[in-house]
Amino acid sequence: MQREGSAFSGLGVVVLKELSDHLTSVRMRVLEWLVVLVALAALYGAIQQIKDTTAEDPFLFLRLFTTSRDPLPSFVSFLSFLVPLMAIGLGFDTVNSEHNRRTLSRILSQPIYRDALLFGKFLAGLITLSISLVTLWLLVVGLGLLLIGIPPGAEEIARSFVFLLVTIIYAGVWLALALLFSILFRSAATAALVTLGLWLFITFIWPVLAGAVAQAIIPPDPRYTALGLQTPGTAELEQILARLSPSTLYAEVVVALLDPTTRALGPIYLSQLQGAVLGAPLPLGASVLIAWPQIVAMIASALLLFVVGYVIFQRQEVRA
């Protein structure tokens, strides 16, 4: 059965309205301050550390993102906390607030499809997050430039730009998750709690649990254990399980992008090291290639979460 008209009529209107809602909201003020504070804190730590170690480093600029100085974590680890929180903060009440304000049936009685409403809301959230992340990125790059005083090379700029894009994709995954729960739960508080709970589980508990589960399924071989090595089968399974979490995927991509000497994500076999010059940096294309499966997996999980939410939303009753 062919539907009449375009599923996207009214999409632009919804995006603009939601975007202006986001940008004028108190939540956005909080996010903006978080962005500024995080940028300052991370840069302060990183620059102190970089100044102390004046070793020659061809990728000094990228160190801005990855260097940490106790007790402050690096900019990248700040981001891996901050991005999910921002996305969940923007997305947890996307659909249920329309139900609770009783605006949903009135809006859907206008000549638009539900597709436009849901997709418009997701896009507006993603654009808002992108604006914040681009601001953050520019702040860090700009301040770093001023404080270090060494201009970054084209390669470094390219790498940090790809890193920015990946971070936006990572934000998209969490936004899609928050959107899904905002469709499933009528109460915004429940949706926020469940999403945050799942975030805690995925980010902090699952990586630990993955090791335990892997050891339970494939017990470590005592011959490897005696040599102080991980059993290859167990290690591989552990990695597969850990990669179910988008946080793990993001961490791996970041390592590949911001540390050009990274040659593989996961166990390396001796055969792979034949002819390799250890410690030599890879070109950007090769680094992206290493991280490509992870990047695709993140895009796929964002799409999957959105589609599940979309299907549920299409079948949901509009009455309160």
Partner: protein, 323 residues
Amino acid sequence: MSQDSVIQANGLTKTYGSATAVDHISFEVGRGEIFGLLGPNGAGKTTTILMLLGLTDISAGEVSVLGFNPAREPLSVKRRVGYMPDTVGFYDGLTAADNLRYTARLIGFRVLEREKRIAEALDRVGLADVAEKRVGTFSRGMRQRLGLAEILMKGAQIAILDEPTSGLDPQATAELLGMIRGFKAEGVSVLLSSHLLERVQSVCDRVALFSSGKIALMGRVADLGREVLGGGYVVDIEADGAGLAERLALIPGVSGVEKTGIGKLRLHADRDVRPEAAAEVVALQGRLKFLGVQEPSLEAIYTRYFEAKKPEQAVQEGARHAA
């Protein structure tokens, strides 16, 4: 009628799993008519409305709104039909005009036409003064009027109003009903639902009384009254004059005379006997202080109908209705 009907429903059914919310209902709404879907909460009125708008799937049956099928051509239906849901909601942080602007953009009006329509609509419902105020500060009655303004702005051919008067004080109700009559005057057909029978009885041309997913009774209020209440007219008269009661009882068609107070009489008749009653008072050289015929009340019709059908169920529904 079928030539000029804007909504035609035939055997419309909605089931949720094994539960049936709307059970094979059929009705038509004529052009420029005010049609009331009345009945207790949970009788299937809102579900029926959502099916007309294509906002919920139809389990069985056919429906045509202005010649379009809401399931297949929802955009064409929604472009021509204005809908005000039960306790209509607006974005509290936006002004009244901005709320309407958002809707107008969704409909696709160009900027000049948009502003003209919004100003006109707000003026019509008496909200022009507060157009730039946030909706968060609005009272319930003002929100309902803003809902009507949205329908006016849309230029809808059919206005579907779900419980438009619920939660309003008597004055706001009267204002709202006046505006609904205004729709009719412009040739807009109105379909309204309510569980408050007596409040909307005065505006409806025809009503359908719902009971657990079925239409129990449908027609003009006066006709239903005659049908259900046993074809009686009740005429109240207040006059003096010796032997008036006896004289009135002799009028052809009068089946009983009842004394309801000092100088007050109530006639039960099978037709409107007001002219004859007045003539009798004058003939006795009495003074006529009051003469009126009671309109049959929907409340009475509804209660009587279900008393006759299922005494216990009617009592339950009456209690739920009162609550």
